[in-house]
């Protein structure tokens, strides 16, 4: 069920290119939407427009039963029933953990408020630090308190702005797993802003790709990864190899092989590195440098002057200078006519 719809949102600061340019999103209850884009693409601004912390120049934000902002009206953030977790957590340094989490419940009586705060702190396993001040907490703990503070009011929509970027490595994974669990339990419509493609694909039920203030593509992570709507969208989700192709007779031909494609004339084939499979037969290519990359090997390959990087299992790793055969895996390739 739709919880919040944003449509045609624009926002510009000064005379420069708009920070957000006619962007739209749909958030659903119980589902996690990840808004992915490089830093400076306007994703945080879009989130602030939805939250009501900024006023859009144009466009509309609405829930099924009311308009939050459009050309004629603007609901201030405090009346939007939206929770927000800030990148820096924004915990209030003059309040304890318990007071921070209870901040939004000031209309409740003392006992009831405390009960709800403690229940929420239990959920994020922070109940034992209720009396601590934020400065005394570790980064992960602060993140959990910030999440608890946003969720304790039981908002219909929860927005998270780069919630895990301040954490590193192992801690990040743990915190992320716990946060995901809590967010799903809450049943809210969740929007997570991130610049980490892997994180986005892992967390998201729904993915929205953003660049230069625009939403390039929305869909499941799988669809977005395997069927990018543009080379730009493809690049947002991971490494790509882009090859010049000639489309004719329903096929796109490249030195590394051909794939079915519509249209005719010059085009571009965008492939993931794992699309290049070393096989017994196929396009003959020369192997350039080979580098070790943990679980796999990256091999530079060259054919007819075009270069690509292939991601190859260790077992099949070629040596530099080898002549091997390559077959393209269609699932990891997309053809775009020019």
């Amino acid at each position: 069920m739709t919880a919040l719809t944003a449509a045609g949102l624009s926002k510009s600061y000064g005379a420069r290119v708009p920070a957000v340019d006619r962007a739209g999103l749909e958030l659903r209850h119980g589902r996690i939407t990840c808004l992915l884009g490089p830093s400076g693409c306007g994703k945080s601004t879009l989130l602030r427009l939805i939250a009501g912390l900024e006023r859009p120049d144009a466009g509309e934000v609405r829930t099924p039963d009311r308009v939050l902002s459009d050309a004629a009206s603007f609901t201030p953030p405090e009346q939007r029933d939206i929770g927000l977790v800030f990148q820096d957590y924004a915990l209030f340094p003059h309040l304890t953990v318990e007071q921070n989490v209870g901040f939004g419940l000031n209309r409740l009586g003392g006992a009831e408020r405390r009960a709800r705060v403690m229940a929420q702190l239990e959920r994020v396993r922070m109940a034992d630090r209720a009396d601590a001040y934020p400065q005394a907490l570790s980064g992960g703990e602060q993140q959990r308190v910030a999440l608890a503070r946003a969720l304790v009011c039981e908002p219909g929509v929860v927005l998270l702005d780069e919630p895990f970027s301040g954490l590193d490595g192992r801690l990040k994974q743990e915190v992320r797993a716990a946060a995901l669990r809590t967010l799903r339990e809450s049943g809210a419509a969740v929007l997570v802003v991130t610049h980490d493609a892997e994180e986005a694909m892992m967390m998201a039920d729904e993915l929205a790709l953003m660049k230069h203030g625009r939403i390039l593509q929305t869909g499941s992570p799988r669809d977005c990864y395997l069927q990018p709507v543009s080379p730009e969208a493809a690049r947002l989700l991971g490494d790509t190899v882009e090859l010049a192709a000639t489309i004719r007779d329903g096929r796109a031909e490249t030195p590394f092989g051909a794939l079915p494609a519509a249209g005719s004339g010059p085009g571009r084939l965008v492939a993931r590195p794992e699309a290049f499979r070393i096989a017994d037969s196929g396009a003959p290519v020369r192997v350039g440098s080979v580098s070790f990359a943990g679980p796999f090997v990256l091999a530079e390959i060259e054919a007819e002057g075009q270069k690509a990087v292939a991601r190859v299992p260790h077992a099949l790793a070629p040596s530099s200078g080898d002549l091997v055969h390559i077959r393209l895996e269609p699932a990891f390739c997309t053809v775009f006519p020019d």
């Binding site: 859009p56 405090e78 820096d88 924004a90």
Partner: protein
């Protein structure tokens, strides 16, 4: 959670309560200054010759320049000694060095002028011993520069000490690791980083110097402010007086800009989040003695000597205890209410005018505006009220209210600076978080921003409190019937050339201010991140 959406025509920020409060506060603070400008544009022939004006202006520049250097060197040296070194008495000096701030500059001037008068004890004694008169005239430009430097060096000391205390150990250690000695690191790293703080402190000292009339006129130094007073009282032209004040307003604007810019730079060099104790150097032997002697001399010359001499003079007369008590209670009550009121206005401006910094800066101009000029500016708006509201001119409440507005206009900078600095701790996302948790803009200010700036608000209130205790011109001209304050009494006795009687109210001001000054200086010590937490709760 309501469903009401506020209808709006343009994508402009809604004028909430905060903005309205800020606008009101700014109007209050700016009204006298605008009145000065309006008066300056009004009719009224100029009676002062260009030559006389030039003499006043040059004297002002010379005095302000010498005080900048004098207060700068004394204050900077003191701060450097106290923060970066260990020597006997350091902990005591750390706060005691601020104490001269408790003494009104006019009281320091009374003490010095009398002590070094040609018929005073020092020169009489020297004449007896040497057979000729020692040229130790305090009633002169150099004398005034010395007196005001001694009175205002704590501004430089306080700002620089705060900067040194907050400096990054990392940068110091980096300098040491790059082969600098401790002293070398000071010159190469600490001093350049502290330069903005010194500049800010000097700017404050210069503003105080330009705004001063009591001390410099008592010391016979004729500055632009003298010109203002002459134009007004002798030639009866408030227009000319206001015109003479325009260069002072301009100077104030420039100084405020310096102060603001240096603060902007200062916040930029707060780097690492890990704070370790500052490395201090243990002084031994002659070094320790010299440091000790310097700090002791500064406190002695800045406060103990002039105040002590005044006290000695005061003992020769029987003070009117009832009047002193009355004046003291008046001053105390007025200062407390004015401190709270001005701080509240400053908080409104700081919170509500965040996007229009110019307004905030303009409201600070009153701080460097000489009292006589302020009085001209105050009378115009006050006149509207007096003439428009029957009974207002004689009313106690109206007079006090006008006084409060006058203090706010005159001292807004003193309150706005610390409040602004305190609010810098509040990140935009904290305000956003409060909004997302159901608070309106005002609610966020009330529940997050103000509580986080509590310490800063108290600092602001104390600064205003101390300044109001010393304030003269606005108090004299706007006060209600029969309402004497300590400063008014001191001025009154000094005008009647009764220094011994003037000593009592002057010393009472010092006495009342000292606890406030001590609290202020403690806060600077506690301002090092980590230490601040306890203090701000």
């Amino acid at each position: 959670m309501t469903t009401a959406a506020v209808p709006r025509a343009r994508p402009f920020p809604r004028l909430g309560g905060l903005h309205l409060a800020a606008i009101l506060a700014a109007v209050i603070a700016l009204a006298p200054l605008l009145a000065v400008v309006a008066t300056a544009l009004g009719p009224g022939a100029d009676s002062l010759t260009a030559q006389t004006f030039a003499r006043y202006a040059l004297t002002s520049v010379a005095l302000a320049g010498s005080v900048a250097v004098g207060a700068g060197v004394l204050g900077a040296l003191a701060a450097w000694l106290v923060v970066m070194h260990r020597f006997p008495g350091r902990d005591l000096f750390a706060w005691a060095l601020v104490l001269p701030l408790a003494a009104p500059a006019f009281a320091t001037a009374y003490g010095y002028a009398d002590l070094f008068d040609v018929a005073g004890p020092v020169r009489t004694g020297l004449r007896a011993a040497l057979g000729f008169d020692a040229p130790l005239e305090m009633r002169s430009l150099p004398g005034a520069a010395i007196v005001l430097s001694l009175a205002f060096y704590p501004y430089v000391y306080l700002t620089l000490r705060a900067a040194l205390v907050n400096q990054s150990v990392g940068a110091l250690e980096a300098a040491r690791s790059l082969g600098r000695s401790a002293n070398g690191a000071f010159w190469a790293v600490t001093l350049p980083m502290a330069r903005p703080a010194i500049a800010a402190g000097m700017a404050l000292a210069v503003m105080e110097t330009l705004a001063d009339y009591g001390a410099s006129s008592f010391l016979g130094v004729q500055t632009l402010t003298t010109g203002v007073v002459r134009a007004w009282s002798v030639f009866g032209s408030t227009a000319e007086a206001a015109r003479l004040a325009l260069p002072l307003l301009g100077a104030a604007a420039v100084l405020l800009l310096i102060e603001r810019l240096s603060r902007a730079n200062r916040s930029a060099d707060v780097g690492p989040s890990r704070w370790r104790p500052l490395p201090t150097q243990q002084l031994k032997g002659p070094g320790a003695t010299a440091a000790f002697a310097f700090c002791l001399a500064l406190i002695t010359l800045g406060l103990l000597l002039p105040a002590g001499w005044l006290a000695y003079r005061g003992l020769s007369v029987q003070p009117d205890a009832a009047r002193l008590l009355h004046g003291g209670l008046n001053a105390l009550g007025l200062a407390v209410v004015a401190a709270l009121f001005t701080t509240a206005l400053a908080a409104s401006i700081a919170l509500g005018a965040r996007k229009s910094r110019l307004i905030a800066r303009l409201t600070s101009l009153g701080y460097a505006t000489p009292g006589a000029v302020m009085a001209i500016g105050l009378l115009a708006p006050a006149g509207f009220l007096w003439r428009g509201l029957a009974g207002a001119a004689g009313g106690f409440g109206v007079s006090i209210a006008l006084l409060l507005l006058a203090y706010a206009a005159r001292l807004m900078a003193a309150a706005l600076e610390p409040v602004d600095a305190g609010l810098e701790r509040v990140t935009p996302s904290m305000i956003g978080a409060a909004r997302m948790l159901g608070q309106t803009e005002s609610g966020a200010a009330w529940r997050v921003e103000l509580p986080m700036a509590t310490g800063a608000l108290v600092t602001a209130a104390l600064l205003v409190f101390i300044d109001v205790l010393k304030e003269l011109p606005a108090t004299v001209i706007l006060r209600p019937f029969g309402f004497d304050t300590l400063a008014v009494m001191a001025d009154y006795y000094a005008k009647d050339e009764r220094l011994a009687d003037a000593a009592w109210p002057s010393l009472l001001i010092v006495l009342v201010s000292i606890p406030a000054v001590i609290w202020l200086t403690r806060r600077v010590g506690a301002s090092r991140p980590g230490a601040a937490l306890g203090a701000s709760q």
